[in-house]
């Protein structure tokens, strides 16, 4: 800020908006000449490793023939299988089943975690009542639930959705509780000063302040949902990507198994990218280290 003489002379105050101009410009100037192309190239950097892997896979299967086809089928073979599964509508059926389960199970689990996490974060008595029990449950491995869920809920959709919901619940819950507890007491005081109701304190201060934690929890929870989905589908199902894996194993078709694995990886990444975009949009306000360029 330039030092203006009128400060020293105690002249009438003059609006400072103009002198704010340099500050008022967030870094909107693009990178220097040639930088834009480079920036776009960098966006593709994430493809380098998968591409290398693909080339290596191709070489060891199609060129050097180091692996038998019933052990590791070549990428060409896997691609053909994928095309067949796609045109027969089979792939669509399995992906649809799995995606539907994940979305429903995740919504239930994350929704419950949102309600319980906020309540536990807000009130210590509720924390004392719920948290020890939930922390104990959290440490039960996912597969340990499967026999009981099958016993109680049958072999249809309910046990699968429940398992996925369990997978989604804990990461969201744990992150949300610590998020609520790190809300700046000083900001809460501003809320008291303006006489906010308890409800307004939650949605105008606590929730926005907790958003970074909530979104991190949602991302981990969604990832867990996919893990738990496969655990559920491996055991009892007639449809879904987990079923494709088992089916491929039973019919000695490693190419089908690889299609399932690749589709799982792509779907998982797609879901995560969507949440990442949401994160980027909603958390523009954070003033944090973004990593070096």
């Amino acid at each position: 800020m330039a030092l203006n003489e009128d400060i020293l002379l105690d002249k009438a105050y003059k609006p400072l908006s103009e002198s704010f101009a340099p500050l008022a410009q967030p870094n909107k100037q693009g990178p220097a000449r040639g930088g834009i192309a480079l920036k776009w190239l960098w966006r593709l950097a994430g493809l380098v490793l998968p591409a290398l892997l693909l080339v290596g896979w191709y070489v060891v299967t199609e060129v050097t023939h180091s692996f038998a086809a019933n052990q590791l089928p070549s990428p060409v073979r896997v691609w053909r299988t994928a095309q067949q599964l796609y045109s027969s509508g089979e792939l669509y059926k399995h992906v649809g089943a799995s995606l539907g389960r994940v979305l429903i199970g995740f919504s239930i689990g994350a929704g419950l975690a949102l309600a319980v996490g906020i309540a536990v974060g807000l009130w210590q008595p509720i924390e004392g009542l719920f948290d020890p029990f939930l922390q104990a449950l959290r440490n039960v491995p996912s597969l340990a639930w499967v026999p009981f869920l099958l016993l109680w809920l049958g072999i249809d959709e309910p046990p699968k959705l429940t398992l996925i919901a369990i997978g989604a619940f804990f990461p969201v819950y744990v992150n949300l509780v610590s998020g609520v507890r790190q809300v700046d007491r000083k900001l809460m005081e501003v809320g008291y000063i303006f006489g906010l109701s308890n409800f307004a304190q939650v949605y105008r201060i606590i929730l926005p302040a907790t958003l970074p934690y909530l979104l991190a929890g949602l991302r981990i929870g969604l990832g867990q949902s996919w893990l738990f989905l496969v655990a559920a589908e491996l055991i009892a199902s007639t449809r879904g990507l987990g079923f494709m894996l088992i089916d491929g194993e039973n019919s000695s078709r490693p190419d089908i198994m690889l299609v399932a694995i690749i589709v799982l990886a792509l779907l998982g990444k797609l879901c995560d990218t969507l949440l990442q975009l949401l994160e980027k949009r909603l958390l523009r306000w954070t003033d944090t280290f973004k990593g070096r360029k």
């Binding site: 800020m1 030092l3 400060i7 105690d10 009438a12 105050y13 609006p15 400072l16 908006s17 103009e18 704010f20 101009a21 500050l23 008022a24 967030p26 000083k186 900001l187 005081e189 501003v190 008291y192 000063i193 303006f194 006489g195 105008r204 201060i205 926005p208 302040a209 958003l211 523009r284 306000w285 954070t286 003033d287």
Partner: protein, 260 residues
Amino acid sequence: MKGSKLTLEAVSKYFPTEATLAPVVSDFSLEIEPGQIVSLVGPSGCGKSTLLRLISGLDRDYAGRIEVAGSAVTGPNPTTGLMFQEPRLFPWLDVTANIAFGLPAEHKNKKGQALVQELLEQVGVAGAAKLLPRQLSGGMAQRVALARALASEPGLLLLDEPFSAVDAFTRMRLQDLLLRVWQRYQPTLLLVTHDLEEALYLSDRIVVLTDRPARIQHIYEIEVPRPRDRRHPELLRLRSELLGELHLVNSVEMGETSSR
């Protein structure tokens, strides 16, 4: 917006320590007329900020009587504003939304929007209306905090060392700004400060407090008319008197410490 009268009568506040209750404020009485500017100065940790917290209603645990505009303080009151040492802006809201945060619930309408626009102009941040707090300098953030405090149209505005975290030139500008909005909206101002020049430049009265527990040691009436020249001889004279007085307070404190 019109200034509220503030009355403190025999106010005492204790902090619980291990064995006993340590008095922070003891038998404190003060009356401030509507629209006056009063500064509290005194040694660090003497209980000035505690007094502000009591008056604002943030801390309800005290003995005695505190009245703002004739009604006893029982909790945060929409007509009493408090501006902190730090801006305490909500980082996820832009400047406009931060100011609008102070609007009373029934004002989320056109009238409220108009007031926010006016305050943006008044505190000189209209050019930054859409910026996020992380993009603001310290002085600018404090302007926004002042506008937010004014958005609730407070009759009494409490300021807890509001300009202590900015550089000297920005501070002088902010003091002028405070006087300008005070002239326009006429709230009663009660200011805690460590800066004697600030107290002298702004106040109608300066209340010098003793070390903890806070009691009134002396009240100075500043009769120099506004706008004041910071170099006015009367202000300079009062300044050296105040320095003497505060030095006395400090030396008593030091004497006590060394005799312990």
